[in-house]
Structure formats: structure tokens, C-alpha cells
């Protein structure tokens, strides 16, 4: 049992018992200070001396404190319920939506690739590459090649799907971590269980659900990032930057 868990148990579970014990000791004090023959079983504050009145005031105060603590604990229970309903479940739904987006874009990218490859194949059948040359009308030859280039450019653009999938996987990883932490937080407030929450060590580190990803995946500044790789690999050959 961890110190942390013990502290929570002390704080939450024993508060009632501790207060009752204090009240019991005070009553015992009252009994001990009054001669057995004179002391009533339940002191009457109206008839008692000043000390007795103070002790009874203190008991009353402690009982009021106990009632307040109970009310606070009830609010904590409500807070836990709200946390589970509003946060944990919402995060889970968002996570599912992200997974759906990934699947949908992958399917769409595959369909687009199929279409583009069919278009390129049709173009090859209509005008085989070897036929596009000196024998053809210059305009037709260049137009056909331009069309091929254009279609191929669209194929290349579909790389967005891989990059987006990694970005979404990263976001989903962050959400999983938030979900796990909120769940642990709600367990802290669970007065029945009082379990020690196991904070997740995973999170958006680059893998999860069998999918490996780069948390820094981006479509932006591709040329700059390629230039860095080029410098390193050129340097590696010459014993430079690497």
C-alpha cells in the first residue's frame, strides 16, 4: 500500500470515526470530573457548570463539523459522477471519432488512388508512351505527357493521408492519456473504492493500438526539413555534420 493511498484512507474513511472518538473522550472527561453520584448520564447544559457547558459546546461544534464533512463528501461524489459523465465519456467519444476519420480518409485515399491508376492505365492504352514521340503531333504529345504528369501529381498528393493518420494518431494518444488521467481522478473521488489510481505511463509517445506514428509528423516546411536531412547525409559522407 502506498503512502499516498494510506493518506487518502486516513483522510476520508477515518474522519467520522476520529470525530466520534474525540466526542467520546470529551464525554468521558465530563464523567470523570463529576462525582459518580452527582453526574447525570447525559449532562444537562442548562444545569451544568461553566466547564461542562464549554465541553458540550465543543461536542456540538465537532458534530456540526462532522455534518459539514459529510456534506462535502456528498459534493465530491456528485463531482466524480459529473467528471465521469461529462469528461471521461466525451473524451472517449472524441477518440472514437478520430479513429473513424482515420479509417474514412484511408478508404478515400485508396479509392482515389484506384481511380488515378485506372485513369493513368487508360491513358497508356489510348496513347502508349512509346507512341508519344516524334511521330505524334507535337501538341498531342505534350498534352498527353502533361496529363500523365498531372495525374501523377495527384497520386503524390495522397501522401497527405499517411501524414494526417499520424497526426490523428498523436491526437488520439493525447486524448487517451487525458481519458486515463480523468478516470484516475474520478477514482480518487470514489469514496467506496478508495483505490490507488495507477497513472498511465503510456500516452502519446509514438505508439498505441498497434499503430506506430511520429508525433512530429507534418506536411509543413517539407523543403526545409528535407534540406536538413540532405546536409546531414552530405556531411555523413564527408565526415561533416554527422
Amino acid at each position: 500500500m502506498t503512502q499516498d493511498r494510506w493518506n487518502r484512507r486516513e483522510l476520508l474513511k477515518d474522519s467520522e470515526a476520529t470525530l466520534r472518538e474525540v466526542a467520546g473522550i470529551l464525554l468521558e472527561l465530563w464523567d470523570n470530573q463529576s462525582p459518580a453520584s452527582e453526574a447525570p448520564a447525559h449532562p444537562d447544559p442548562a444545569k451544568g457548570n461553566g466547564k461542562a457547558r464549554h465541553l458540550l459546546d465543543l461536542v456540538g461544534l465537532l458534530m456540526a463539523t462532522y455534518r459539514e464533512i459529510r456534506a462535502v463528501l456528498e459534493r465530491i461524489r456528485e463531482g466524480r459522477h459529473l467528471l465521469q459523465q461529462a469528461a471521461v465519456e466525451r473524451v472517449r467519444r472524441t477518440h472514437e471519432k478520430l479513429a473513424e476519420v482515420t479509417a474514412t480518409t484511408e478508404l478515400a485515399a485508396t479509392d482515389m488512388l484506384d481511380g488515378l491508376e485506372r485513369a493513368l492505365a487508360l491513358l497508356d492504352r489510348l496513347v502508349p508512351r512509346e507512341d508519344v514521340g516524334p511521330g505524334q503531333e507535337p501538341d498531342t504529345a505534350s498534352l498527353v505527357e502533361e496529363l500523365r504528369e498531372e495525374l501523377h501529381r495527384l497520386v503524390i498528393l495522397l501522401q497527405f493521408q499517411d501524414i494526417t493518420a499520424q497526426q490523428l494518431a498523436y491526437a488520439a494518444g493525447v486524448l487517451s492519456e487525458v481519458e486515463e488521467r480523468l478516470d484516475c481522478l474520478s477514482k480518487v473521488f470514489d469514496l467506496q473504492q478508495l483505490e490507488s489510481p495507477e497513472w498511465g505511463a503510456g500516452g502519446a509517445q509514438g505508439s498505441g493500438s498497434g499503430f506506430s506514428f511520429d508525433p512530429g509528423a507534418s506536411s509543413l516546411n517539407a523543403e526545409e526539413r528535407q534540406a536538413l536531412a540532405d546536409r546531414i547525409f552530405t556531411g555523413a559522407g564527408k565526415g561533416g555534420e554527422a
Binding site: 484511408e106 485515399a109 485508396t110 488512388l113 491508376e117 501523377h152 497520386v155 503524390i156 495522397l158 501522401q159 497527405f160 493521408q161 499517411d162 501524414i163 493518420a165 499520424q166 509514438g206 505508439s207 498497434g210 499503430f211 506506430s212 506514428f213 511520429d214 512530429g216 509528423a217 507534418s218 506536411s219 517539407a222 526539413r225 528535407q226 536538413l228 536531412a229 546531414i232 547525409f233 555523413a236 559522407g237 555534420e241 554527422a242
Partner: protein, 125 residues
């Protein structure tokens, strides 16, 4: 020349194959992760193109495993990945990657890197 293209994204594998076809290459083998690539790798593979982030053995471990094999020591390896942090690129270079492309790539860059690797390996051979 036979290429082994390793990427867990089927879309990316098709894009790379498509681009290589445009350059004029025709023979390809595909693998969805490093473990599958190691199983498929044999003497008929002349060139490996691999991603970095993959389940079941990532690209970096694949490169190290290939370089540790007698038949994989000299095979040209090109890494195509989204990872563009300097430390990652250095790690790839140290593992034995011959050249490195940051996604999204252009067909021109792909051709340029393949030419560079083949030129260097032929020059060295």
C-alpha cells in the same frame, strides 16, 4: 532492379511504387512492417526503401537488423519518413541508411536520392 518497399501504410507503398514506375523501375516486393521485410528479404532484393514508424519492428531496427546480416550489409537503403528532427536523421545515418527523404516527398527528390545512392554504391563497387 528489384525494390523492397516497407511501409505500414498501404497508400504510401502504392505511392512509392507508382513513383518508381514513373522513373522506369518495374520489379517490386512490399512489406507492411520491419518483421515482414526481414522475412521477405533475400538475395534478389537490390534496393530497400523503408518508413521509420511501423509496428512489429520499426524502420530503424530493420536497418540495423539488415546491416547485421551478411546478405544485407551492402544493400542500398533509402528511408522515407515524416521524422525530421536532426537527432533522428543522425540516428538513421549511424544505423546505416544510405539516404533520407522527409515526407511528403516529390518524385524528383525520390529519383535524385536513388541516383545518388546507386551512383555512390556503383562508384564504391
Amino acid at each position: 532492379m528489384k525494390f523492397l518497399i516497407v511501409d505500414d501504410s498501404a497508400t504510401m507503398r502504392r505511392i512509392v511504387v507508382n513513383s518508381l514506375q514513373r522513373i522506369g523501375f518495374k520489379d517490386f516486393e512490399e512489406a507492411g512492417n520491419g518483421a515482414e521485410a526481414l522475412a521477405k528479404f533475400n538475395a534478389s532484393i537490390d534496393f530497400v526503401i523503408t518508413d521509420w514508424n511501423m509496428p512489429n519492428l520499426g524502420g530503424l531496427d530493420l536497418v540495423k537488423a539488415l546491416r547485421a546480416r551478411p546478405d544485407g550489409k551492402g544493400v542500398p537503403i533509402l528511408m522515407i519518413t515524416t521524422r525530421s528532427v536532426k537527432e533522428d536523421i543522425l540516428q538513421a545515418a549511424q544505423a546505416g541508411v544510405n539516404n533520407y527523404i522527409v515526407k511528403p516527398f516529390t518524385p524528383q527528390v525520390l529519383k535524385e536520392k536513388i541516383d545518388q545512392i546507386l551512383g555512390a554504391t556503383q562508384g564504391a563497387g
